[in-house]
């Protein structure tokens, strides 16, 4: 049972404070969605959880140990991150990109062990990338590239998976497919999954828990049903949205007519 916890974390870029006293914990088997308006500090929270940004105050712990005490390679064996932007100008193949997930475990001169090769193969299989394995990543569609980067993160074989807006470049069908896959993998392998999501309905449909960030503060957390009520949605996202109940899950739709 893994737990990743932030305690009273304040984070800043130079003098600009982006996150104020956020406390939040997640554990194995959970799918947590971080939602909130643009610029609220969602990605910053994710960066703090990944150990990429050192908190100005407060701390992040992994299984009770301060994250800053881990060397990067040790963090990489426990926490995988799917970045929002994964453009590259170089002709890496899909298999090579997936193999990047093993960076922290490779031997001297980057030699891959049999276990590394097997893990890459499994990740490729998990995301059904067998047919694309030798294709160049810079020649794939957005959805295919997303799957390759997801496979890279899975090849890290961590117990925590953090994703920064994993659906932002995808059409609705691929958004559902990606999140469905994440939920299936997360449940099957008891991963602790945390994703920044823009779409409240996707968050409602896939997350076991939703965390709402607004103006750098954590304003609400709980199950979708507990969090997404009319009062919160209006307070955080303005009065243009309406919350309707759909099969026990809240859905957020624009008020008609708009404006």
């Amino acid at each position: 049972m893994t737990s990743l916890a932030a305690t009273a974390v304040t984070a800043a870029y130079g003098p600009r404070v982006v996150l104020r006293e956020c406390s939040f914990a997640m554990g194995s088997g959970e799918i947590v969605a971080i939602v909130g308006p643009n610029g609220a500090g969602k990605s910053t929270l994710l960066r703090v959880l990944a150990g990429l940004l050192r908190p100005a105050a407060g701390n992040v712990t992994l299984d009770g140990r301060d994250l800053t005490a881990f060397p990067r390679s040790a963090v990489a064996r426990r926490i995988a991150v799917v970045p929002q932007i994964f453009d590259t100008l170089f002709p890496f193949t899909v298999r090579e990109v997936v193999a990047l997930g093993r960076t922290a475990r490779l031997g001297a001169f980057g030699r891959a062990s049999a276990e590394d090769v097997a893990a890459v193969g499994r990740a490729i299989g998990d995301l059904a990338l067998e047919g694309l394995a030798t294709r160049r990543i810079d020649r794939l569609s957005g959805g295919e590239r997303q799957r390759a980067v997801l496979a890279m993160a899975l090849a890290q074989e961590t117990d925590v998976l953090l994703l920064d807006e994993p659906t932002v470049h995808l059409d609705p069908g691929h958004q559902l497919a990606t999140l469905g896959l994440l939920r299936a993998l997360g449940t099957r392998r008891q991963l602790a999954v945390c994703a920044v999501l823009h779409d409240l309905n996707l968050a409602s449909a896939f997350a076991s828990r939703i965390v709402v960030i607004a103006e750098g503060r954590l304003v609400r957390e709980g199950t979708p049903l507990e969090v997404l009520d009319a009062q919160l949605v209006e307070a955080v996202f303005g009065d243009g949205l309406e919350v309707v109940a759909r099969d026990g899950r809240p859905a957020v739709v624009p008020r008609v007519p708009v404006g």
Partner: protein, 328 residues
């Protein structure tokens, strides 16, 4: 398997060009006499082969291999297929430091160390500028290179004109600045070879970590690379390689740009393969370019930098125009 056969081919190409470089020259020497000279014959041919052609060929190989390896590392680190020691101004910084060392009267073996220091300062500056640029690093790096190169050039001109010590050897210094391997002594070669060996060793150890930079520094970190330490080490290796190349041959442009770029089409982007392949191919390419510089307008000689510029500059332009995507 495919990688091994390509590396094998590159070794063969390097050997063939080296043999050609030793056989061909301003003075026609029969292959049999060349062999005798290599084995230590005590005549004029012996002197020409052992003191001129052999160090020249080895020097060209070291310079080409170093520049191409440094180019591969820089391109990977900066995520910029248009980077190399020349274009980023790293070579110019190394030149300035080397000229400064000569002006100050430092002992000859210290000159390569000075050019390493100059390269390190410049390449670190370029890297910091590229980071400031955020998403638009490709252009930032090129502009930084233009600025640094003209600044270093201006200071070098100032030093050349105002220093009495340099005035005495102005021709030699100018020839070196243009990029030439025509006169390389064994002691120079020895010092440079040691520096290149260290730089290449670092490059081979670091290569797989450079791959992790493909999606940016943050992703490199989440993949388990310590970005500060790795970046420092890669910049250091780049500076060792370009510093040694500049100390031997002055400003030789575009080898570091063209060679890794062409090789990616053959063996892909993975630096574990790209780094050794770049060294071999860069070495072979510059030995051939030097052969061209000696024979194209014989008995006169071109500086080898003129040859690499003639081939490299149009290549660079084509790359710039073809891939507008990477410039914005």
């Amino acid at each position: 398997m495919r990688t091994l056969s390509i590396l094998g081919l590159l070794v063969a190409a390097l050997l063939v060009s080296a043999v050609a470089g030793i056989l061909v020259g301003a003075v026609a020497i029969e292959p049999g006499d060349v062999l005798a000279a290599l084995l230590g014959s005590n005549d004029v041919n012996g002197t020409i082969i052992r003191e001129l052609r052999l160090p020249r060929v080895l020097g060209a190989a070291l310079v080409g291999g170093s520049l191409a390896t440094a180019g591969a590392l820089l391109q990977g680190l900066l995520r910029n297929p248009l980077a190399d020691p020349f274009v980023t101004g790293t070579s110019a910084g190394a030149t300035l430091a080397a000229v400064l060392a000569i002006v100050l009267g430092l002992a000859a073996p210290l000159v390569p160390l000075a050019s390493f220091a100059g390269a390190l300062v410049t390449v670190t500056l370029v890297w910091r500028l590229a980071r400031l640029g955020g998403g638009t690093t490709v252009l930032t790096v090129l502009l930084a290179g233009v600025v640094l190169t003209s600044f270093a050039g201006a200071v070098v001109t100032f030093l050349l004109v105002s220093s009495d010590r340099l005035a005495l050897q102005l021709r030699a210094v100018l020839g070196w600045l243009q990029g030439g391997v025509s006169v390389i002594s064994w002691p120079e070669l020895g010092v440079a070879a040691v520096i290149v060996a260290v730089g290449l060793g670092f490059a081979l150890v670091l290569a797989h970590r450079v791959d992790a930079y493909a999606f940016g520094e943050d992703t490199a970190a989440t993949l388990g690379v310590d970005p500060d330490r790795t970046t420092t080490a890669v910049l250091g290796a780049t500076a060792l390689l370009s510093g040694a190349a500049v100390a031997l041959a002055g400003l030789v442009g575009f080898v570091g740009l063209v060679v890794p770029h062409a090789l990616r089409f053959l063996i892909g982007a993975t630096h574990r393969r790209l780094v050794p392949a770049s060294f071999l191919a860069g070495a072979a390419a510059l030995v051939l370019a030097d052969l061209g510089s000696r024979t194209l307008i014989a008995p006169a000689e071109l500086p080898v930098g003129a040859i690499t510029g003639l081939i490299g500059a149009p290549f660079f332009l084509a790359l710039l125009m073809r891939s507008r995507r990477i410039v914005v």
